[in-house]
Every structure is written in structure tokens, then in C-alpha cells.
């Protein structure tokens, strides 16, 4: 009895296993479908946008901006990338896209060196390549570069903190680690702007290696050493979290202002709660829009209109302005739809 039931079980399992595998493939092939949309009557262009990773609000917002512009111009935009910010996950996507031979490639390279070879293949196939937000070392392969103005972002953060603190007192920096070009530029802008205020001084620059508790203890020490501290500028969310915690546990909320970078949903939540007072918001949607626009210009023979290097300015949100539509429209999106 045991035996026969075992046999029928095995037979059942065999069919199910085979069917499951085939179904799995079929489902994944059918899943999602395509995001193509056709429009214009003349030559139809397809532009591929490869973000640094597909699950990050910054890049999703970039995709939303690019898609809207593509719809306006009547071109098809594909949006595909890896699910981690690494060359290992991005490269296979870029290589595979070559087989589809898009008319232009818009890419946020995840590595300045490793993405050179895949991009070179597009250049060899006469497909123009535009770098969005990040770039590669060999800029000669790129038709144009679009990125955020990080120096302006740092300056804007300094200006916002100074205004809140009535242009008086000490301020401190919290950054990820030295040698990162984007965050170093933000620090530089912040320091330059603070120097313009005679009653303000930058007293400390610390690095917290993306660890909020490191940032917290550093800010706690800075608070002890500098009782006149009025502001902390953190170059990403972890620094802002650590600074916020240190300041509230020291009972300095409302006296020491925190400025942070990027309008991710968590940051926006902290901004609205008052744990962060200032947010420097990049404009990924505008970056994506410009990239599509430049690619379209290139394809329609208007190359002369394309600047080789574009820096997109940042926008400031404060706790007071967070609910105004003119500000909240810059908050990053979490879905392409």
C-alpha cells in the first residue's frame, strides 16, 4: 500500500514539477508586458534608459520624467536596469540591450571604469550614449552628460540653515567618506557659502561611513565641544538620521537645525516631523527629461542644440514649506505610474 501510494505520488510530482517549470518561464515572459507607446508618423525612435538601479526612488523619479518627455516627443522609452547599484548587475542589462539596437542609450553608469567596455559597444554600433547623473571616466564616448549641481546643493543647504539660525552661530558637516566626488562637492559648496556670513563658522567635518550610529555619536561630541552650534549638514540620509537623534536626545531640537540631501520618502517623513529641517532636493525628473530631449535632438539632426555638460540645480524644502504643492512636486516617486 505504501509502495503504490509512493509511486502515484512520484508520478504526480513529476508532472507537476515539469509543468511548474514551464509555467514559471511562461509567467515571467508574459509578466509586466512592455511599456512601449507609439505615436509619431515619421521614423519611430526607441530610446533606452538604464538607471543605476531600478528600485531607488531617485532613479524611479528620473524614469518618470524621461517617460513623460518621451510621450510628448512620440518616442518609445524603455526603462531597465539591475536591482543593485553595481556594475555586475548593470552590465548584463546594458549588453543585452545592444541586441535590441535602440536608437539612443541613456545611462547612469554604476562604475566609472567597468561600464566603459559595454558603452564602447554602443558607440561602435553608432548608437549615441548620454550619461545621466553619474558618468564614466572616458567622457569622449559620451554625446553629453547631465548631472546635479552638487556645489550649488551644498550652497543652498548653507543658505537655508543660515536663514533659520538668523545668520549667526557655528555649523558642522557630516559626510559619508572622503574621496567621493559628489559628497565632496556638496561639502565644498556648503563651506564656501558659510564663509559669506561673517557671524558663522564651520567648526567640524566628520565622516560616518553610512552608519547612522557613528554619525549620532559624532554629532553628540560636536554638540558638547561647540555649545553655539546652530546647524548640521549631512550629505545623505544616514548622517541626517544620526544627527537628528543626537540633537533631540541632547534637548537641542529647534535650536540646532539639520539639513539633509535627497527627497526620498523617509527623508520627507523626517522633514515633516521636524527631525530634519532642510532638504536639498535633486531634480532627477528634470535630468531624465533633458536626457530624452537631447537624445531626440541628436536623432533628428539638431546636435548643435545639445550642451556637452549640463548641471541641474537643486531645490530646497523646509519643514514649513513641505506641504506646499510647489515644493512637494519635487519629492521623489516610488512608482513609475
Amino acid at each position: 500500500m505504501l509502495r503504490s501510494s509512493k509511486r502515484s505520488h512520484a508520478a504526480w510530482f513529476r508532472y507537476t514539477a515539469g509543468a511548474a517549470a514551464v509555467a514559471a518561464v511562461a509567467v515571467s515572459l508574459a509578466a509586466c508586458g512592455s511599456s512601449s507607446s507609439s505615436g509619431s508618423t515619421h521614423k519611430h525612435y526607441t530610446i533606452a534608459l538604464v538607471p543605476g538601479l531600478t528600485t531607488d526612488p531617485f532613479y524611479i523619479t528620473m524614469g518618470v520624467g524621461a517617460k513623460a518627455e518621451a510621450k510628448k516627443l512620440g518616442v518609445t522609452l524603455t526603462w531597465q536596469g539591475g536591482n543593485a547599484f553595481t556594475a555586475e548587475t548593470q552590465t548584463p542589462v546594458v549588453n543585452a540591450l545592444l541586441a535590441k539596437h535602440p536608437d539612443a542609450l541613456l545611462i547612469a553608469p554604476t562604475d566609472v571604469t567597468a561600464l566603459k567596455a559595454p558603452i564602447q559597444k554602443f558607440v561602435n554600433a553608432n548608437i549615441p550614449v548620454f550619461a545621466v547623473d553619474t558618468q564614466i571616466n572616458d567622457t569622449s564616448l559620451l554625446d553629453a552628460r547631465i548631472t546635479s549641481d552638487n556645489i550649488q546643493g551644498g550652497e543652498a543647504a548653507a543658505e537655508a540653515i543660515a536663514k533659520l539660525a538668523h545668520y549667526k552661530g557655528d555649523v558642522a558637516d557630516e559626510s559619508v567618506q572622503p574621496g567621493v566626488s559628489t559628497t565632496d562637492a556638496r561639502l565644498q559648496g556648503f563651506a564656501t557659502q558659510i564663509k559669506k556670513y561673517p557671524n558663522m563658522k564651520l567648526v567640524s567635518t566628520e565622516y560616518y561611513n553610512d552608519n547612522p550610529s557613528t554619525a549620532e555619536s559624532q554629532v553628540r561630541d560636536v554638540l558638547l565641544a561647540h555649545p553655539d552650534l546652530v546647524g548640521v549638514f549631512a550629505t545623505n540620509i544616514y548622517g541626517a538620521q544620526g544627527a537628528g537623534t543626537a540633537i533631540s536626545s541632547a534637548g537641542k531640537s529647534g535650536k540646532v537645525y539639520v539639513a539633509a540631501y535627497d527627497a526620498d520618502p523617509e527623508n520627507v517623513k523626517l522633514l515633516k516631523s521636524g527631525a530634519i529641517n532642510v532638504l536639498v532636493m535633486q531634480q532627477p525628473a528634470l535630468e531624465g527629461k533633458l536626457a530624452v530631449e537631447y537624445a531626440y535632438d541628436k536623432l533628428t539632426g539638431k546636435s548643435s542644440k545639445i550642451p556637452a555638460f549640463t548641471q541641474v540645480p537643486n531645490v530646497i524644502a523646509t519643514t514649513a514649506t513641505a506641504s506646499e504643492p510647489s515644493v512637494s512636486k519635487y519629492f521623489y516617486k516610488t512608482s513609475m505610474n
Binding site: 508586458g33 512592455s34 562604475d111 567597468a114
Partner: protein, 371 residues
């Protein structure tokens, strides 16, 4: 990041369960195990059992063909040169690691440190090359030393794994989990967790050189050649025979005079050496050594073996099957991009196929029981 980590945790649990149950399983199925051993040694097998062990490879080959055809129907660009190059390039790293993993899995072991060894050996070789480049050394010397260090580092870590597993009788799962963690940390120590981009041009040339009018990238040729050599070692040499014997029935293997402990050291050492080769090719592919290189690769390597018909109970598996398993994963990656589906669906599909393949393996075990 967290989404990519999840499968590894799940498989970890599954394997822990497997390791725990392994002893009991072996004891109850000792007769089946020795039947398997005699098959390996004498080649005399009942027709049905032989059919069932062969049909595994046909099944996966069929799935591969089916997937390629499905993609070709859905998109005209699947059977193109660019799609082939993309698929082949993607497969290089996973194929070599899966070949390494195949040897280990056939011994009824598991090596989850393969990705970490890849990253560590690549970083070790690259650190030395970077240092040597800043001195007055000939480029040839720099390249040779760099490659040698990558291979020796991989081999050394593999040998340590094998020694600990065989001498201390610890579960391979735990030992390689430990070495994976330790080596990942050591990789960051080597260059402060940052990547190395100052490498001799030869390294990037190795990654970009192609043969036959661009149809065959050099790294692909190297990976396929290694697979062939390892396939011959596994199927046609005493080393391969002992590998099957150790995994089929360790006690029987010991009694028939095989130095099981020594053989395990060799197998893990060989796996480590292959990881070193993969480290070299990944460094060449990206013209840089990244501390993230090899991250999560063990999942794909094990998946390729299982899809290819290797049994986690040991004693079963072929290099041909592993090649097909890797090809299925690579084709899925390229194909899903071509039909404009987000890359994470690839993980969903691979996961489903792995479970289906493991289920198929389970049936084959049962059929063997009932013969």
C-alpha cells in the same frame, strides 16, 4: 539589496535541514547508495534507472531550447550576435563557479564561499598589481605575478576549507559559511573596501579580446575550455570516479580504499582554484577589482548545478548538466531584458526552475528506491 539577500537565507535554511537529515538519509538508503556506486564502477545498471539519470540532462536541455524559442517568438532579437555575446559574457563567471560547485556537490558537500573566494582572489591579485605598477616593474612581470596570486589565493582558501571540513568533520555548509564571511571581510581589508582601477592594460584586453570576428569572446573560450577539461576529469579519470564514490556512499568509499579526507581536500582546493580563475576573468571583464565582485554568486552557482541535475545528496551530477543550467540562467537574463521585463523577474524564474529541478531529482531518488 535586501531582496537579493533573501534567497540566500532561504537556501541556507534548506541546506541546514539537509545537513541535519543527511546522516539518517544515508543510513536508510545505504543499499541505494551502493547500487549507485557499483553503477559508477562497473557501468551495469538496470535500464529504468539509467533512463531516469539520463533524462535529467535531456529535460534541462529541453527547457533551455524551449526558453530560447519562446524568447525568439516574443522578440526578433534573441537569435542575434549581440544577444549571444551578452548571454555568453554573462555566463562566464557563473559557469566557472558552477563547475567548481559541481565537484563539491557531487561529494555531498556544498561550498557557499565560491563568490567570496572570487572577490578575495581578484582583490588580492589586483592589490599586488597596483603596487607593482607604481614601482619599476615590467608589465609582463606585473601581469604574471598578479595572475599567479589570484590563482594561488583561490587555491589556498579552497584547501583550508577542505582541510577543516575533512579533518574536523564539520558540515561543509557551516565551514564555507564561515570562510565566506571571513573572506568577504578580508577583501575589504585589502583595499579599504574600495575598488582598484589601476591595472595593466593586458587585464582589460583579456576581457575585451574576441575571436572569430567577434563571435567568441576570449573569456567565454576560457570558461568553456575549463568546463570541458573539468568534465573529462569528472567523467573519465580516477579523480572523478572517487568524487562520485565519496558522495554516493562515504563509508563504502572508505572501505574500498579511497582516501576520503584527502580527496575532499583536493576537491575543495580545486574549487578554490577555479574561483581564482573566475576572479581573474571578472577583473578583466570590468577592468577593475571591486569589493562587491562575487557577491551572491554562490546562489547562482548552486542553482546552475541543481538545474543541471546535480543532487545535493551527492553522487550525482554532470558538467554537461551544469553547463545547461548556467545557460538557462544566462538566456533568461538576456531574454527578459530583450522582451522589456525587469531583471528581477529573472530571479523569480530561476527560483521556480531550481525548485522544479530539485523536485525532479527527488523523483529520481524515489524511482531508484522502487526499481
Amino acid at each position: 539589496m535586501s531582496t537579493t539577500k533573501k534567497p540566500s537565507e532561504e537556501l541556507t535554511e534548506g541546506d541546514a535541514a539537509k545537513t541535519a537529515g543527511a546522516g539518517a538519509h544515508r543510513a536508510t538508503e545505504a543499499t541505494a547508495g551502493s547500487a549507485e556506486l557499483s553503477y559508477q564502477l562497473e557501468g551495469s545498471v538496470p535500464f529504468f534507472q539509467r533512463f531516469m539519470s539520463r533524462v535529467g540532462s535531456f529535460w534541462t536541455l529541453g527547457v533551455l531550447v524551449l526558453i530560447v524559442l519562446l524568447f525568439e517568438v516574443l522578440t526578433p532579437s534573441m537569435l542575434t550576435k549581440a544577444a549571444w555575446i551578452s548571454t555568453a559574457d554573462y555566463g562566464v563567471e557563473y559557469l566557472i563557479l558552477a563547475v567548481a560547485e559541481t565537484f563539491v556537490i557531487i561529494t555531498a558537500g556544498i561550498d557557499i564561499s565560491v563568490g567570496a573566494i572570487l572577490g578575495f582572489s581578484a582583490m588580492a591579485g589586483s592589490v599586488v598589481m597596483q603596487e607593482m605598477l607604481s614601482g619599476h616593474n615590467s608589465v609582463t612581470a606585473v601581469v604574471l605575478v598578479g595572475i599567479a596570486i589570484m590563482l594561488v589565493t583561490g587555491l589556498a582558501v579552497g584547501l583550508v576549507n577542505g582541510l577543516i571540513i575533512s579533518r574536523w568533520k564539520l558540515p561543509p555548509m557551516i565551514v564555507t559559511l564561515g570562510s565566506m564571511t571571513a573572506i568577504t571581510g578580508a577583501t575589504d581589508v585589502l583595499h579599504h573596501g574600495t575598488e582598484i582601477t589601476t591595472l595593466p592594460n593586458f587585464v582589460s584586453d583579456l576581457g575585451t579580446t574576441t575571436l572569430f570576428h567577434g563571435w567568441l569572446p576570449l573569456p567565454v573560450l576560457i570558461a568553456l575550455a575549463l568546463t570541458l577539461v573539468c568534465g573529462i576529469i569528472l567523467a573519465r579519470t580516477r579523480f572523478g570516479l572517487h568524487t562520485y564514490a565519496v558522495g554516493s556512499n562515504e563509508v563504502a568509499a572508505r572501505r574500498s580504499g579511497i582516501h576520503v579526507d584527502r580527496h575532499l581536500v583536493y576537491v575543495y582546493g580545486l574549487a578554490g582554484l577555479l574561483c581564482g580563475v573566475a576572479g581573474l576573468l571578472v577583473t578583466a571583464d570590468f577592468s577593475s577589482a571591486s569589493p562587491l565582485a562575487g557577491y551572491n554568486d554562490e546562489m547562482y552557482a548552486i542553482a546552475a548545478c541543481v538545474i543541471g541535475g546535480a543532487s545535493l545528496w551527492g553522487g550525482r551530477g554532470t558538467m554537461f548538466g551544469t553547463l545547461i543550467g548556467t545557460a538557462i540562467m544566462s538566456v533568461l537574463t538576456t531574454g527578459l531584458v530583450l522582451i522589456n521585463v525587469q531583471a528581477f523577474w529573472q530571479q523569480v524564474a530561476i527560483g521556480a526552475i531550481v525548485v522544479a529541478a530539485a523536485g525532479f531529482d527527488h523523483i529520481r531518488l524515489q524511482s531508484g528506491d522502487e526499481k
